[in-house]
């Protein structure tokens, strides 16, 4: 069992959870992920490691409540325990040698982008961050991003905070203004990463994306998370989750992500009813 030592809401739908897992805390690196199960009958859910404290033996995950599984997870309180917590899985981000990087984060993807930006900052790279949210209420980790970024741009779909528009617009402006990035690292919804790549391809700026396909085991034994990268089948859980954005077949990944849409809608409804009953 893995005790929840801290649980903090970051916005109405995004929660930060700090979990006691000393062995994982000792090994985790930016870019890696864990698989967890909230209870004894829960589904296995992959979540990226948002932070870790090797001394305290804790690992932080940040998740958005989007369906049955994350609702169940969010129903757990501080001091309670997760049934299973496995990791660190996947390959760590390759950050060595990068001098100037633009980190692009979208929505809850910012939780994954932050440790990457932080690590780059600590390695002495020049870090520009472009982060986007639907509206002001959903903004997370703004201060943390500002603290590790040489340049910080906040975007919102409706203009309720920062600038109105999508992250791609801000990124393109920066590139056009002559910022010569060694690499762009984009982490967020598949559609966002797809359009970031559409921009960077025009200017031939190397782009790394962190893929988030459906996973079961997360150790390479099932291929549920497979993607086509550079025309080849790759397993995101062992070969990734980060890949060269120019090579990824995003349309296919978007189709595969929607595989269990109906089941998930049903599970969400069920979890809602169940949790509401408990509240009453």
């Amino acid at each position: 069992m893995y005790r929840i030592v801290e649980k903090t809401p970051l916005n109405p739908t995004v929660t930060k959870m700090v979990v006691e897992a000393p062995l994982i805390a000792k090994k985790a690196l930016p870019g890696q992920f864990v698989i967890l199960r909230a209870g004894a009958d829960s589904e296995r859910i992959p979540l990226t490691v948002a932070d870790y404290d090797r001394e305290k033996g804790t690992v932080t995950v940040i998740f958005q409540v989007v369906g049955g599984g994350t609702m169940e997870l969010n129903a757990l309180k501080e001091g309670e325990s997760l049934h299973d917590f496995v990791g660190p899985l996947g390959r760590a981000s390759e950050l060595d040698g990068l001098k100037k990087v633009c980190v692009v984060g979208g929505g809850v993807g910012c939780a994954i982008a932050l440790p990457v930006a932080k690590a780059l900052h600590e390695k002495g790279a020049e870090v520009h961050s472009v982060v986007g949210f639907r509206n002001q209420d959903l903004v997370i980790l703004e201060d943390e991003f500002r603290a590790c970024s040489d340049k910080f741009v906040l975007m919102s779909d409706d203009g309720s905070c920062g600038r109105k528009g999508l992250v791609t617009a801000a990124l393109e402006e920066l590139i056009q203004a002559g910022e010569n990035y060694d690499e762009v690292i984009a982490i967020g919804p598949l559609v966002m990463m797809k359009f970031v790549v559409a921009v960077t391809k025009k200017y031939n700026v190397k782009t790394v994306v962190s893929m988030n396909p459906i996973m079961i085991d997360g150790t390479g034994m099932c291929g549920g998370c497979r993607l086509t990268v550079g025309g080849k089948t790759r397993f995101a859980c062992v070969d990734g989750p980060e890949f060269d954005g120019f090579e990824v077949d995003f349309d296919e990944a978007i189709h595969r992500g929607a595989m269990y849409k109906d089941f998930e809608a049903h599970a969400r409804e069920e979890a809602c009813n169940l949790l509401n009953q408990e509240v009453r």
Binding site: I24, G87, C222, G224
Partner: protein
């Protein structure tokens, strides 16, 4: 008085029409009367050829003799000298190519039903005996077992009997390996696996789940930092192969591992499961092994109307156990033999809507002696399916070999051992089961676990 019947005493089983809609065990097992009757078919040969066919070396005539005398507790005692997983092996061993394949009674008529008797004795013991498993006097030596499949469990059990402090590291959240995620409930009830594991725990074996060796801890850390004198690598062959044909990433295409993991480990067949699985009308399972049969029979039970086994050779070359093929046929699985998929077809939403296949014919025998399937020109046709399950084999996961310096592996990714006792190219590191052989059988994995336990004991004693 020997029973000279030429045929095995039949074992009751669920009616195919009923069982193809549930996940309950198909074969129901012998009653005590049936077991005694069948046991009397054993001639108690002095040379006991059956014994040589058992990879874990069970004294078969001895335990069957006890059954014939209605001393079931005594029979269990004989079994447990050689195996810790009798209830499992009696059910899933391919006895026709092991013990029963060597039985003298099989020369004229059917061999003695050794597997069914082993199963009966193990089940009888579970229901009737309540004594605690014996915990050996502990010695001071620590051994780590990586993987809790049949090979790891056997090795752990044998070492625990000798007093070793054994820790089994398992990557998934439930121990048992293929016994829990691969082989379905209707062939091997998971309650049995849980009980076998509980017995090992009572014998002092510690299980640590959620431990991906190669990620959270390396083999070197186990030995250098954590004080394990030996490591037994039994991580299996869990990496699925795909065909590399167009359309394989469409929604509705599964590896058998994924399909079976969702169904068996995550219980996706239960209406209240939190893990989803495809709702299919027509399913094609590509491959002809036991895993393909399991996947096809699961798909049928999940409500698919048409389930096809698509195999590129003919009935005679099917690698699956004969009994499993018969069960599948009885349950209405349709065999599309001498057929090979060339492309998966998708609809506008990116979901499987069909499978383009080509007919095959058997050509000259290849190096392995099997007749090679050759495509028949211009014989392409489309099979209407909405789900496709690839069951064309698995290979060892690269995690351990890529994080263990000096561990020799072959071109297939299998760990190289000295063959005799499972010693790898690293001192103190042993390996066995599918991690060494590539995908094989439960009993071979158990045999390797047994050999390695003996070798580890010898190595530590002589150190």
């Amino acid at each position: 008085m020997a029973n000279m019947s030429l045929t095995k005493c039949p074992m009751p089983s669920q009616d195919p029409e009923v069982r193809s809609h549930n996940f309950d065990e198909v074969a129901l097992g012998y009653t005590a009367e049936m077991a005694v009757e069948e046991a009397k078919r054993c001639l108690n040969c002095p040379k006991k050829p059956c014994h040589s066919g058992c990879p874990v070396g069970i004294d078969i005539p001895a335990f069957i003799g006890k059954v014939a005398e209605e001393d079931f507790a005594g029979a269990y005692e004989v079994l447990s000298q050689s195996t810790t997983l009798a209830a499992v092996c009696g059910r899933v061993c391919p006895q026709e190519s092991q013990c029963e394949g060597k039985c003298v009674r099989g020369v004229k008529g059917e061999p003695v039903a050794i597997g069914r008797l082993e199963r009966f004795v193990a089940d009888w013991h579970r229901e009737h005996a309540h004594e605690e498993p014996v915990k050996a006097a502990p010695n001071v030596h620590k051994v780590a077992v990586v993987g809790s499949g049949p090979s790891g469990l056997t090795c752990a059990g044998d070492l625990a009997k000798l007093g070793y402090a054994v820790t089994v590291f398992e990557a998934l959240h439930t121990p048992g390996g293929v016994l829990v995620y691969g082989i379905p409930e209707f062939r091997l009830p998971k309650e049995l696996v849980r009980k076998e594991i509980a017995t090992l725990e009572a014998m002092g074996v510690e299980f640590q789940t959620n431990m991906v060796i190669g990620k959270v801890l390396t083999v070197d850390e186990l030995m250098e930092d954590m004080g394990y004198e030996c490591v037994y690598l039994a991580s299996g062959a869990g990496l699925p192969s795909f065909m590399g044909i167009p359309g394989e990433t469409l929604n509705g295409v599964y590896s058998a591992n994924e399909y079976l993991t969702r169904v068996n480990l995550m219980k996706a067949y239960r209406p209240d499961s939190h893990t989803p699985i495809a709702k299919s009308k027509s399913v094609a399972v590509v491959g002809g092994g036991n895993v393909a049969m399991d996947a096809a029979r699961c798909a049928k039970r999940l409500g698919a109307e048409n389930v096809y086994i698509v195999y590129r050779r003919s009935m005679d070359e099917l690698p699956a156990r004969k009994e499993e093929v018969e069960h599948a046929e009885e349950e209405g699985i349709i065999f599309r033999l001498l057929t090979n998929p060339v492309e998966v077809l998708g609809d506008e939403t990116g979901h499987v809507k069909g499978m383009k296949c080509i007919r095959m014919e058997l050509g000259e025998p290849d190096a392995s002696g099997r007749r090679r399937p050759v495509p028949v020109p211009d014989s392409e046709f489309v099979l209407d399916v909405d789900t496709m399950i690839m069951s064309i084999g698995t290979s060892p996961n690269p995690l351990i070999r890529s994080t263990t310096p000096g561990l020799e592996t072959n071109k297939h990714g299998c760990i190289v051992t000295n063959g005799e006792d499972g010693l790898t190219s690293r001192t103190g590191v042993y390996a066995g089961g599918d991690a060494v052989t590539g995908a094989a059988t439960v009993i071979l994995a158990m045999g390797a676990g047994k050999q390695a336990a003996a070798a580890i004991h010898k190595y530590i004693q002589e150190k």
